[in-house]
């Protein structure tokens, strides 16, 4: 099975797409590709605008060379605009584009694309499709639904069974990750002629994708015990009973309370009844967590997934089903309580 130029246009992560880009860059020269009336530049801007306005990019069939070349240039422009929201929106739109195309391919071709683009090991046996478990995990950890959890999968001799649709979703998701990685890592060196274009694009992006205000709803100094999530309430009552809490439980409690604006000196009281309480040690750890000493990192509380793994998730209520992080729970419930 050989990949065509059309495949390179549809699937920018293939080695063929990279080869075509390299060849055309040498033939045409970077200056002509980046000139103001360049077709590639026009298409690259269009591609970004498609992402912003419709959430999915299309394929420009009129000129496949232009389409293939517009991929790296679009990424370059996204980097130059330097708007994290745009990066996410663009990566998501490209992911959708790949998915709607790849889902219509033959299974063997999908396997080939996965291997060519991401070095994945896909096995197709009779009616069943398998992907090596480490490759599966690298992507599936970003999927929220229990459907994707390894424990709910058939795992045989190192390979996870997937449906054709699953495999397409995993490839599209891996591509999304790759875009984000490439843009984050690339060094910026703006080509002088592009300044005006980038300026204009930035304005447009700002207008359409206004930055989300970081919600100040985790109102510092607004401590409302009624808004605490079930996991934290349980840990607090256990600490109050003087239970010997495991490390992860202590860490969760400390990071959570510090994140919602309590000071280490206030948090320390929670730990007072623990059997091995040591005032100086505890305060030292709390100040470390708050970023006041040591590496100055402010530690975040663990996510719901982590808490579940460590058996610290008591049981969820209806709010838990909507969130992935205990801090989101607190925010959400604070807003609810305010409305009331």
């Amino acid at each position: 099975m050989i990949l065509s130029k059309l495949d390179a246009a549809k699937y920018p992560f293939t080695s063929l797409a990279a080869k075509i880009v390299e060849k055309l860059e040498t033939e045409l020269g970077v200056d002509s590709i980046l000139s103001p009336n360049s077709e590639v530049l026009r298409r690259s801007i269009e591609r970004i605008r498609e992402a912003i306005y419709s959430g999915v990019t299309s394929i420009y069939m009129k000129d496949l060379d232009v389409e293939v070349l517009s991929h790296p240039l679009s990424l370059f422009l996204v980097k130059a605009v330097n708007n994290p929201k745009l990066l996410n929106v663009y990566a998501e739109a490209e992911k959708n584009r790949v998915f709607v195309n790849i889902i219509n391919e033959d299974v063997n071709k999908i396997a080939l694309l996965a291997n060519d683009g991401f070095n994945w090991h896909v096995k197709v046996e009779k009616e069943r499709i398998f992907l090596r478990f480490d490759e599966y995990l690298k992507v599936s950890v970003n999927m929220m639904d229990s459907y994707w959890k390894l424990v709910n999968r058939k795992l045989e001799e190192g390979y996870v069974e997937v449906t054709k649709r699953d495999l397409c979703r995993l490839i599209a998701e891996a591509y999304r990750g790759k875009i984000i990685e490439v843009v984050m890592r690339s060094k910026e060196n703006i080509h002088g002629g592009l300044n005006a274009v980038i300026e204009e694009l930035s304005k447009e992006v700002k207008a359409i994708l206004p930055p989300t205000k970081i919600q100040e709803s985790v109102a510092l100094n607004e401590y409302n015990p009624s808004a605490l999530p079930p996991c934290i309430l349980k840990l607090m009552s256990e600490a109050d009973e003087g239970k010997n809490l495991p490390h992860m439980a202590r860490f969760t409690l400390a990071t959570f309370l510090i994140s919602i604006g309590k000071r280490p000196e206030e948090v320390i009281d929670i730990f007072r009844r623990l059997p091995d309480f040591d005032e100086n040690k505890t305060l030292y750890h709390l100040r470390h967590i708050a970023g006041e000493i040591g590496s100055r990192t402010k530690y975040m509380p663990p996510s719901c997934a982590t808490l579940r793994t460590f058996n610290l998730c008591p049981s969820s209520d209806e709010i838990c089903l909507k969130i992935r992080h205990p801090l989101s729970y607190y925010n959400y419930k604070l807003r609810l309580l305010r409305k009331k």
């Binding site: 090596r132 478990f133 480490d134 995990l137 690298k138 599936s140 950890v141 229990s146 959890k149 390894l150 424990v151 709910n152 999968r153 058939k154 795992l155 045989e156 001799e157 190192g158 390979y159 003087g242 239970k243 010997n244 490390h247 992860m248 009844r273 623990l274 059997p275 590496s295 997934a305 982590t306 579940r308 793994t309 460590f310």
Partner: protein
Amino acid sequence: MRSFQESEDFVKRLFKSYYLKWRGDPPREYHKREYAFMLSRKGEMIRHISFENWNEMKEFLVKNVPLHVFYSSAYYLQPSAPEMEAKDWIGADLVFDIDVDHLYTSCKEDHDNWMCLDCNFNGKGVAPEECPSCSSKKIESKAWFCEKCIDVAKEEVIKLVEDFLIKDFGFSPSEIEIVFSGRRGFHVHVESDIVRELDQRARREIVDYVKGTGLVLREKKKKLLIPPLNAQGWPGRIARGVYEIINSRSTHDVAKLLCLKKGKGITEIEGQLKKILSKLEGAEGYWMLEGEACKVWLKIAEKAVLNMRCEVDERVTTDIKRLIRLPETLHGNTGLIVSKIKMKDLETFDPYVHAVAFRKDEVKVKIVSMPKIKFLGQEWGPYRDTIVEVPLGLAVYLICSGNAIISDEERRHHAKGDI
């Protein structure tokens, strides 16, 4: 107090003699690992040490005689950098920890005991959360590792290695190393390029898989697709687990499991169980279970998951920068060797024979308390506040675990420098 210090010195001298003859193998790519040591019982851990040459490790051990020796499961570009961020993590082995502390064994009632540090109230078995007499939380427990405990831990290791790591995850036996932890359990190291770069989240998925955490069992419209007994992975495990429960328990027991009111619907349940059992025995592929029996299946399946899962400590596996005991070094709380074990030898492995470092001589020790223990093939104890002459290895074990001190007689003897 002096005698306690002398006992400590006695142990130190023995540890030194062990390390003088030490020939431990380096871990894979040892120069990319971080090493850490504890030199005394109350001291700090010395960390961020690396070795360019394995002979330096031996020199370090002889010179400092550490009580505990650890190495990182992680590989770093700069293993000795004092800040974790500056170490430049490049990967880590996949490590599992199976410890009797996390497993239920009935024998704990016989050989474990605890004492309240506030009112001296004490009891047998696993320590309670709080003292039943004065409600204090300050409880000190003494735990032992008897033959039953060892067998339970071994079973868990076999389950992990053969059932999960080899069958499901497809690792080859040559990538898996089993190590006796030196105290009450085993470590399983997987050194494979496939897992080396997996991050914490991916490793959490692996732990959840092994422990059956987050396993979803659901019926759809009163229908359930049931796997055959020989299905691979969790589906087969659940089918076999359910089969085992129905097969080995009375209908009344199963009814209890289903939280049924006494005697209610027993005949009905009996019918459903019979049907499930015969279907399970006859089915070659997946089959459909319908109606009320689905509820029965799901309830039993929940229990089956608990029976079939593997009890590992998730903290160890999800930590990509874990320090873990270096094989062939001594465990400072037991004096036993942290021993590598081949899978084929696991069945017959006895820590009180194969992990004993000091096999010659006998010494007199003053034992505070000790349950009956089989050591070097002989039974010893139980003892309480007595002076006994025991094999040197057992004496070291008791002194390291804080259950004995060298007797006066022995001290005079050793003061002359006989050891």
